[in-house]
């Protein structure tokens, strides 16, 4: 065991050293690149404004009339901010780095977890516990060392959002939650920077461009064309209707498809394609379940929009977690609903089960989660279906037995909601038989059964 610990320690130190050396190399290369760009030697081999290496490197896309030499020049001068280094942000930024977008900023507060890797293609097994922004930046640099990558291992919020965004020409919304989506929309409108918004869950994805502004030529410069997020969704959805990849799952290629298409829209927008060829005032809906793409027409900019209309009522960033009644970081939820006499720790539950005390173990996770892993002998009553007939059936079971009734879920929040629902329907001594497993199956895995999967 000592050997393992020593090796882990050594590897961690080597990782740190590697990261420092990589950073050093990036900085030296960038200095060198700048000197090289400015030298007269280099300007001699410029063709149509591009140096020889760029013509060669990007030739496959320069060949396209849709991009061309001028378009490539625009890409190389462009600065794109990618918010979220997850399932959408990884593929989106990989293609933009490959295409030679001059500067890519990538923001993520989170760290790489093994459950991310099936879809977040810039992160490797060795990147676990590393900052996602840093891990993504490392991968992007290995794709293209000629561009500037700025990782932000921070939480983008109303106090730093405008400051960061104003260094960029375009924002990609690759986030996973409602408050951040409203904030990015407001940042986009307040700064005049267009927002390419992608989202994905389970087997479906959605994509559109919000806050687009005319770019001159046939489009009047800086005028709003098409809606912003608030024009279409002036009110945030009720929190209980919002799903997440960690709770409901997602097939890896789904955000892959949407992230790649975000990159394509970004390239077209930066190259200067007119809004009629972009997903402006149109939304692409992708259903991977039946392999269909459809594009639907959206409403135009709303004259009553709270932020992008001519008389906006929102003129600065807000507290989006309050506005949306939900959290930007989903992991923090830690409910304390039940009294201590209605709770049981993982260790106590194990002891009680070992002593052959009888428990009706009610697992309230979804059927899919229950099928993935469960405690021996548990029965599955998903919380979302625990109403009416299902609820009556369970209550009947509880009333007709004398054993403990112990509710179980992943983290110990839903189990309390379920236990509370049952407690409300019980009177007298029956109430004392009902409890929930504190900390859920995560605690069970930590304190009792280390072989139990943590997801």
């Amino acid at each position: 065991m000592d050997v393992i610990q020593r090796l882990e320690q050594e590897i961690a130190e080597l990782k740190d050293t590697l990261q420092m050396k990589e950073q050093e190399l990036v900085e030296i290369k960038q200095k060198f690149l700048q000197i090289n760009e400015n030298s007269t030697e280099n300007t001699k081999v410029r063709i149509g404004g591009l140096p020889k290496w760029a013509i060669e490197r990007y030739s496959r896309q320069i060949l396209l009339p849709d991009i061309g030499v001028q378009g490539q020049g625009r890409l190389m001068a462009a600065r794109v901010l990618i918010v979220g280094a997850g399932g959408l942000g990884c593929p989106a930024s990989a293609y933009l780095a490959g295409a030679g977008v001059g500067e890519i900023g990538i923001i993520d507060y989170d760290e790489v977890d093994v459950t991310n890797i099936h879809r977040q293609i810039l992160h490797r097994e060795r990147d676990q516990n590393l900052s996602k922004a840093q891990s993504a930046a490392n991968s992007l640099r290995s794709i293209n060392s000629k561009i500037k990558i700025t990782p932000y291992s921070i939480d983008i919020n109303p106090s730093n959002g405008l400051e960061i965004a104003k260094n960029y020409d375009l924002i990609l919304d690759c986030t996973d939650n409602v408050p951040t989506r409203y904030m990015l929309n407001d940042i986009s409108v307040l700064t005049g920077i267009p927002l390419i918004s992608g989202s994905a869950l389970k087997m479906e994805g959605q994509l559109t461009i919000y806050g687009y502004r005319g770019k001159g030529g046939d489009e009047k410069e800086q005028t709003h064309i098409g809606p912003c997020y608030r024009c279409i969704f002036p009110r945030p959805p009720p929190p209980e209707t919002v799903g997440s990849c960690s709770a409901q799952g997602v097939a890896g290629p789904i955000p892959g498809v949407i992230g790649v298409l975000q990159a394509l829209e970004a390239i077209k927008l930066l190259v200067g394609h007119p809004h009629t060829q972009l997903l402006v005032q149109r939304m692409l809906l992708f259903d991977g379940g039946d392999s269909t793409f459809r594009t639907v027409k959206l409403r135009p900019r709303s004259p009553a929009c709270e932020i992008c209309s001519d008389e906006p009522t929102i003129t600065k960033l807000l507290d989006y977690e309050v506005v949306c009644q939900s959290q930007a970081k989903e992991k923090d939820l830690d409910l304390h609903i039940l009294q201590s006499e209605n709770r049981i720790s993982a260790k106590e539950l194990a002891k009680s089960l070992n002593a052959k005390e009888r428990h009706l173990l009610v697992d309230v996770r979804s059927e899919a989660e229950f099928n993935m892993c469960n405690i021996d002998g548990a029965v599955n009553y998903p919380l979302e279906k625990l109403r009416e007939k299902q609820f009556e059936e369970l209550m009947e079971k509880i009333r007709s037995c004398t054993s403990y009734v112990t509710f179980v879920c992943r983290r110990g929040n839903d189990s309390q909601l379920a236990a509370e629902r049952v407690l409300d329907a019980l009177v007298g001594p029956d109430r004392s038989r009902v409890r929930d497993l504190t900390g859920g199956l995560h605690a069970w895995a930590r304190h009792v059964d280390i072989d139990f999967p943590v997801y």
Partner: protein, 109 residues
């Protein structure tokens, strides 16, 4: 004179979970005065369609789909693949063969 009409209704983005997980179905609405005897109009609008859906298709937890007499925030309604805002929203008069889609917006990434 009021008469029955056939429509296609579709669900996406998770809204189908409230409707037996069926993403697309053809429905036939009776003549509107049969369903709403007090109704003066001859044609169904989306407003009445929502009531009919609540009565006939929505199994449980209507608050996850409806709010007041409209859909809840976060559901995009499409009339033949176009945002219903361009079609008078609740007051849009349904036509034979229309496709009405209810798409819940996704927020994951």
């Amino acid at each position: 004179m009021a008469h029955p009409i056939k429509l296609q209704i579709q669900f996406g983005g998770g809204a189908e979970l409230l409707f037996d997980s069926i993403k697309s179905r053809t429905i036939e609405l009776p003549a509107i005065d049969k369903y709403f005897p007090e109704c003066q109009r001859e044609k169904w609008t989306i407003k009445e369609l929502l009531v009919w859906m609540k009565d006939n298709l929505l199994r449980e937890r209507p608050e996850l789909f409806l709010q007041g007499d409209s859909v809840r925030p976060g559901i995009l309604v499409l009339v033949n693949d176009t945002d219903w805002e361009l079609y008078d929203e609740l007051s849009y008069e349904l036509l034979e063969g229309d496709t009405i889609a209810f798409i819940s917006t996704l927020h994951g990434g």
